[in-house]
């Protein structure tokens, strides 16, 4: 037995430990250089058979599926060979999302609602996925996939009614703006809690499989929220039961003010998370609508043939703040959005259509005017139903509706208390 003092001496010869706390490369005021972001040439990544075992293509989790090259050509085995009509519809949907975001962001700044979240620079992620999925497939989105609704034809007025919590809001003003629920468009109720939708999507997919249905599920989360335990639970369940589900990780580099390093990006890719679970993992250029489409279509085919789930990392960039509640210039360099090496997804798809001879700048400009006009018209229509803060848009007692299917006594009592309070207050919107 060594003396206690010997042990202490031995320990004293050890080097002191140090703690690594990740730090993003650029902070406000820094010049931005993304030269170290590895961007493989378009068309350079192989496309495995959709039935191939996941362990046969783990390399795809560390590279990047890209279809559109620098000259606007679609190249390589992942080229989905879409018709010009489909390409134009995708382009228009992306432009519509951007116009919608712009208008609703401004509406929040004008005090017409409390909150908004844009998807500037990430429009391809939701739009191309919606085009690659069947309309009947079930989506369990995070809060930045408004493109799914727009691509599936949800009326803009309905979305705006929700944003304004007005009389036309079928959620009765109960949810934070943009936390849509649109069952008719296969769009699950959005939660503000992160990644809770992941295991839910797996459960839906398992139910579909167990009932011999043909529909699959798809779900989205940000790279930051892959750190949630729900992510691990979902991937474990999905691999165990080979659930027909597509996991999308939208790696837009920033989780509010925390860069992707706080979710583990310094050590590996997010697509590589799939490997430990034996799930197919793909890493795609998220600003390349054709790559997103191709990867989603591949994963959907895999899921529909009972070959199991796929995790797709969409490598993209959040070009604006997290929401209307934060100012990105406070935590990252203002030069980042323009320096981002993967470009603007709308411009890239536009260039492709022009290169095909199926589009031109005049038609682009006309389309931009047309979508802006459509958004403006919808906004006028929605504002007829009221805007947040301008009076009471829902009957007071709806506050208690939907806690339970049938209202128990304690809620009935509390509802009466509220009505009594409002009557006593004499406020103009008191219930009569």
């Amino acid at each position: 037995m060594p003396e206690e003092s010997d042990v202490v001496d031995a320990l004293s010869n050890l080097k002191p430990l140090s703690l690594h706390v990740p730090e993003p490369k650029f902070r406000p005021g820094d010049a931005v250089d993304f030269a170290d972001v590895e961007v493989p040439a378009a068309g350079s990544v192989r496309r495995p058979d959709t039935l191939a075992p996941a362990q046969d293509f783990t390399d795809l989790a560390y590279t990047m599926v890209r279809v559109l090259d620098e000259d606007g050509q679609a190249v390589g085995p992942w080229n989905p060979q879409l018709s010009p009509d489909r390409l134009r519809r995708m382009l228009r949907d992306m432009a519509m999302v951007r116009a919608f975001d712009e208008r609703m962001f401004r509406a929040q700044r004008q005090g017409k609602t409390s909150f908004y979240m844009k998807s500037l620079g990430e429009e391809a992620v939701a739009i191309a996925a919606a085009h690659a999925l069947d309309d009947e497939d079930m989506c369990f989105p995070s809060y930045r996939q408004q493109g799914l609704l727009i691509a599936r034809g949800c009326p803009l007025v309905d979305m705006m009614n929700q944003i304004y919590s007005n009389t036309g809001d079928k959620l009765q003003g109960k949810q934070l703006p943009i936390m849509y629920s649109e069952k008719r468009f296969g769009f699950f109720s959005i939660s503000g809690n992160l990644t809770t939708q992941y295991p839910q999507a797996v459960g839906w997919a398992m139910a579909s499989a167990s009932k011999g249905d043909t529909r699959i599920a798809a779900t989205w989360c940000g790279e930051g929220s892959t750190a949630e335990g729900d992510f691990h639970s979902a991937l474990t369940f999905a691999t165990v039961y080979r659930a027909p589900v597509i996991f999308n990780v939208v790696n837009n580099q920033w989780a509010i003010s925390s860069f992707s390093g706080f979710a583990g990006a310094e050590a590996t890719t997010f697509a590589a998370r799939a490997i430990g679970y034996g799930i197919a993992g793909l890493r795609v250029d998220g600003n390349d609508a054709l790559a997103v489409y191709a990867a989603t279509a591949w994963a959907a085919e895999r899921a529909r043939t009972n070959a199991g789930p796929t995790l797709i990392e969409h490598f993209t960039y959040r070009a604006e703040g997290h929401s209307t509640s934060d100012d990105p210039t406070q935590y990252r360099s203002a030069g980042e959005p323009t320096a981002w090496p993967l470009g603007d997804p709308i411009r890239r798809l536009k260039d492709h259509l022009i290169a095909l001879g199926e589009w031109d700048e005049d038609r682009q400009a006309a389309m931009d005017r047309e979508v802006a006009e459509a958004v403006k018209t919808a906004q006028k229509e929605a504002e007829k139903n009221g805007i947040l803060g301008h009076g009471l848009h829902q009957p007071l007692d709806t506050l208690f509706d939907g806690v339970f299917e049938e209202m128990p006594w304690h809620l009935r009592e509390q509802r009466q208390q509220m009505i009594d309070e409002e009557t006593a207050s004499g406020r103009p919107w008191a219930r009569k």
């Binding site: 369990f140 629920s181 809770t196 459960g203 579909s208 335990g229 639970s233 939907g402 806690v403």
Partner: protein
């Protein structure tokens, strides 16, 4: 299970212990509704660590009764998704002590889904979970976390005290379109427990609550059961503590009215109010820790509604505000001595 099964007392009624009654509830409902699925750790081939799901996988197949990975968050999250699809999941959390990893999915998702989606999506889950102590389960197999769930809007909390109630309440819970937490007092799975841990264990064969119809019946959620009528004091209890209270009353000869709440949310306030107004005294008994326990809510409700009928302060008899100890389990447990002393005090006040 070691319970002795007696002959049916009539054509349709059988002696069952609580496990068998719970098993029968799932069996009966699964036969009626193909949307019902049972899932959880070890519930499939093995039939559950307490055997509550024994035989169900064989009868209904692996897609309706299946084992899950060990992730309570995943179990409830997946169940929410299945509910959104149109299934009616009955997940088991192996011990209530393990339910905490599932809290976000229960509190933020299942409980609020109807509200936040304007009724487009609902979470018709029934989460079964054995709870409570008295089995030398130590601090990780003995807890009573019902107070956490009664504090959450949008979820119902149900706790049976007999095999008969367990089956009728579980069927009602499964058919309910809102999420229900169904806590099963595991100390009384095999027989009623009178609180005297040093006396021979009883089984359900002689207890009236052990006579259980074989077929379908329901006990509505939100209805309490007056298990003993009395004039001197009202004792509000649920689960195991109903039986402990009954034994203390039998031993002391106090003419107490014992109200088995059966459902904590929604609560049967009418029965409570009527009883306390009649007796003028109210004692609340639960095994869970004291501070912010469900007893606090009951005490507040009773003083709000029955203050001018009260002849003594409302008394709580509970577990202590410590983790559930292993070797000192019976010092922690609110047994006959603690209840008896409180009873003496409330009658003297």
């Amino acid at each position: 299970m070691t319970d002795t099964i007696e002959q049916p007392v009539d054509d349709t009624t059988t002696r069952m212990n609580m496990i068998q009654a719970i098993n029968s509830a799932m069996d009966v409902t699964m036969a009626r509704d193909p949307a019902i699925v049972v899932m959880g750790e070890d519930v499939g081939y093995f039939g559950g660590v307490f055997r509550a799901t024994a035989g169900l996988q064989k009868k209904y197949g692996k897609t309706r009764v299946f084992d899950t990975p060990i992730t309570e968050c995943g179990i409830i999250g997946v169940a929410v998704g299945m509910g959104a699809y149109g299934l009616r999941p009955v997940p088991e959390i192996q011990f209530a002590d393990y339910i905490y990893p599932a809290l976000d999915q229960l509190v933020s998702e299942a409980a609020r889904l109807r509200y936040r989606s304007g009724g487009e999506f609902t979470a018709p889950l029934t989460v079964r979970s054995p709870f409570g102590g008295g089995i030398f389960g130590g601090q990780t197999h003995s807890q009573s976390p019902e107070g956490i769930f009664t504090h959450v809007s949008g979820v119902k909390t149900v706790i049976p005290s007999t095999p008969y109630d367990a089956k009728g309440l579980l069927i009602a819970a499964i058919e309910d379109n809102d999420p229900v937490i169904f806590f099963e007092p595991k100390r009384i799975y095999n027989g009623p427990f009178n609180g005297h841990w040093d006396r021979p264990a009883e089984n359900w064969s002689k207890h009236p609550g052990g006579a259980v119809p074989e077929g379908y019946y329901t006990i509505p959620l939100g209805k309490a059961n007056v298990v003993r009528a009395g004039e001197a004091v009202t004792m509000l209890a649920y689960g195991t503590m109903v039986h402990v209270c009954a034994q203390v009353v039998a031993d002391t000869g106090v003419d107490a009215e014992i109200v088995d709440l059966r459902t904590l949310v929604p609560l049967d306030i009418e029965t409570i109010e009527a009883s306390v107004k009649k007796t003028g005294r109210c004692m609340i008994v639960h095994e869970a820790t004291r501070t912010s326990g469900f007893g606090a809510e009951l005490a507040a409700l009773v003083q709000e509604r029955c203050f001018y009928h009260l002849e003594a302060p409302v008394v709580r008899v509970t577990g202590f505000d410590t983790p559930y100890p292993h070797s000192l389990e019976w010092a922690y447990f609110p047994g006959p001595v603690r209840i008896g002393q409180a009873l003496k005090k409330i009658l003297k006040d």
